[in-house]
């Protein structure tokens, strides 16, 4: 495909990403901005809430089959998940499972672009993430659960844990998949442990290319809407084998940090 025609997925809003992943004209948003279900906890903490709480749920079809895409907006509070966003994701998983049990499956895609749990709603959000984890494993018993990690933030924290529970994981080269963000690692363990300003290193250590190479993703895509759409359809039509959640071999952790990375074929 000509580069001139490639359309960036990462530059789209969450709403437009959901629109892009659903068949043309099939997009129907649920609990959108005008439902005005916004976080009641943020104003007291000096933050202006967003009308959709930074998570978009849209029904439609994918390849002609009933589908739902849940997309998080990385631009609102780093895409962090609060009570409402968490309830949207967990609720969509529960409804998809209900539909599958009834014999009318709804394909579910989690297009996550999130730094993790929203600090301002901590314990309500962590409870919802426990529901999300259970919801993914329960739905997985019946059909593929597809995660798309192709945004600017990537996926961190409890949502990264959740992503690893999905059966099909599509990552872009530009996305990062890790548990703790680089600034958090630097703050907690020092600059020698991780220099959060060394962006190329961050991508080598947690970027999509590495994750695909490690066997932690089922498909690696470039930042191209058409390519990602096709990958999502393939994930449902021809699901790939994702290795079980067991440790893949790694070098001796007692090695000095840079030596450890080199042994993992990561340039320190």
């Amino acid at each position: 495909m000509s580069l001139l025609l490639a359309e960036s997925f990462a530059e789209r809003s969450a709403r437009d990403r959901a629109r892009a992943l659903l068949d043309p004209q099939s997009f129907r948003e649920l609990l959108g901005p005008f439902a005005r279900i916004a976080s009641p906890y943020l104003e007291a903490q000096g933050v202006v809430p967003q009308s959709d709480d930074g998570t978009v749920v849209a029904r439609g079809t994918i390849g002609g089959v009933r589908a739902c895409v849940v997309a998080t907006d990385g631009r609102f509070l780093g895409g962090s998940i609060g009570e409402i966003g968490g309830a949207k994701i967990a609720g969509a998983l529960e409804l998809a499972r209900r539909d599958a049990q009834r014999g009318t499956p709804t394909r579910l895609v989690l297009a996550l672009d999130t730094g993790g749990i929203r600090l301002q709603e901590a314990n309500l959000a962590i409870l919802s993430v426990s529901e999300i984890c259970d919801g993914i494993v329960a739905l997985r018993e019946l059909m593929p659960v597809v995660a798309v990690i192709a945004g600017r933030v990537g996926v961190y924290g409890g949502l990264s844990l959740s992503t690893a529970l999905c059966s099909q994981i599509i990552v872009s080269e530009g996305a990062r998949v890790g548990l703790n963000g680089p600034d958090v690692v630097e703050t907690e363990s020092g600059l020698d442990e991780m220099d959060s300003s060394d962006r190329p290193l961050i991508w080598r250590v947690t970027g999509g290319q590495l994750r695909f190479r490690q066997g932690f993703a089922t498909e690696l895509v470039s930042d191209d809407v058409a390519g990602i759409r096709a990958a999502v359809e393939r994930a449902f039509e021809e699901p790939r084998e994702l290795g079980p959640l067991v440790p893949q071999p790694f070098p001796d952790p007692r090695l000095e940090r840079d030596a450890f990375l080199r042994a993992m074929e990561i340039e320190p």
Partner: protein
């Protein structure tokens, strides 16, 4: 950060000398015990100063701990319940961990607990110390029944107190004020219980070195829960309907209801 002794203390008292499961990392304790006649596999994550990952020697949930827990939990004998004894200050913060994929290690443990519960093993959790973030998600929060010590040393949150202060650049008093206005940001166990996350609180005389009376009280309560296996088999979604969550999680329920109505419209 000084390493906590609570997890090991409670593990040893509750398993009363049962032989630990071998072939696990030294930071993962597991043993098949009996609680008033009920078979229970107890699991805990504890500090290991000799751990091979330098950033996971203080009881943090790291690579070895996440995968080790998964092994221990998924090996639970048929007919046995599972008891997660929780005292984890958080996840380990290191480059090695991120490169290896710490999210997968925690997912492995989470997955093991969920699959065990869904296949009929009642899963109970007892929070005796800290229960922070990903560590609590992968060790404790998938339990159908969660008890906790009624003690100020219990902390439930998504980051350490020091980290919250750094990120928000707020003083303790301001954080305390926010915690009063927004219970979801409070760290103490009693406030967390108001969110419907805790089934039972245990006032004890010494949380780090439980007395015989403390242990007897907890054992008796656990046995009562085990006599009603459906409690340990509940999934997290069911916590939404807990009496304690009537007001505090009304919004979560409302979103579910409205989502369903729109989905089916």
């Amino acid at each position: 950060m000084s390493a906590s002794v609570r997890g090991r203390a409670w593990f040893e008292r509750l398993t009363a000398g049962a032989k630990p499961i071998a072939q696990l990392p030294a930071s993962v304790l597991a043993a098949d015990a009996s609680i008033e006649g009920h078979a229970v596999r107890a699991v805990a994550v504890v500090p290991d100063p000799n751990g091979r990952f330098p950033r996971a020697r203080n009881g943090q949930m790291g690579i070895d701990e996440g995968f080790g827990l998964a092994t221990a939990v998924s090996g639970t004998p048929s007919g046995s319940a599972i008891l997660a004894i929780v005292d984890v200050p958080g996840q380990s913060f290191g480059t090695r961990e991120e490169a290896v994929g710490l999210q997968r290690a925690l997912a492995a443990s989470t997955n093991a607990y969920i699959r065990a519960r869904r296949s009929g093993h009642p899963v109970l959790a007892l929070v005796v110390g800290k229960a922070i973030s990903g560590a609590f998600l992968c060790h404790g929060l998938q339990a159908g029944w969660i008890g906790a010590l009624d003690d100020e040393g219990i902390e439930i949150h998504v980051m350490s107190e020091a980290a919250v202060a750094r990120v928000t650049r707020m003083e303790r008093e301001d954080l305390a004020r926010v915690a009063r206005e927004v219970p979801a940001t409070a760290r103490d166990i009693r406030t967390f219980a108001t969110l419907g996350g805790i089934d039972r609180l245990f006032p004890v005389s010494d949380p780090s070195a439980p007395s015989d009376a403390d242990v007897a009280m907890v054992v008796h309560a656990l046995a009562e829960v085990l006599r009603n296996p459906s409690l340990g088999l509940r999934n997290p979604r069911e916590r939404l309907d807990a009496p304690a969550a009537l007001h505090t999680r009304a919004l979560s329920r409302r979103v579910r209801d409205e989502l369903q109505a729109a989905w089916d419209a």
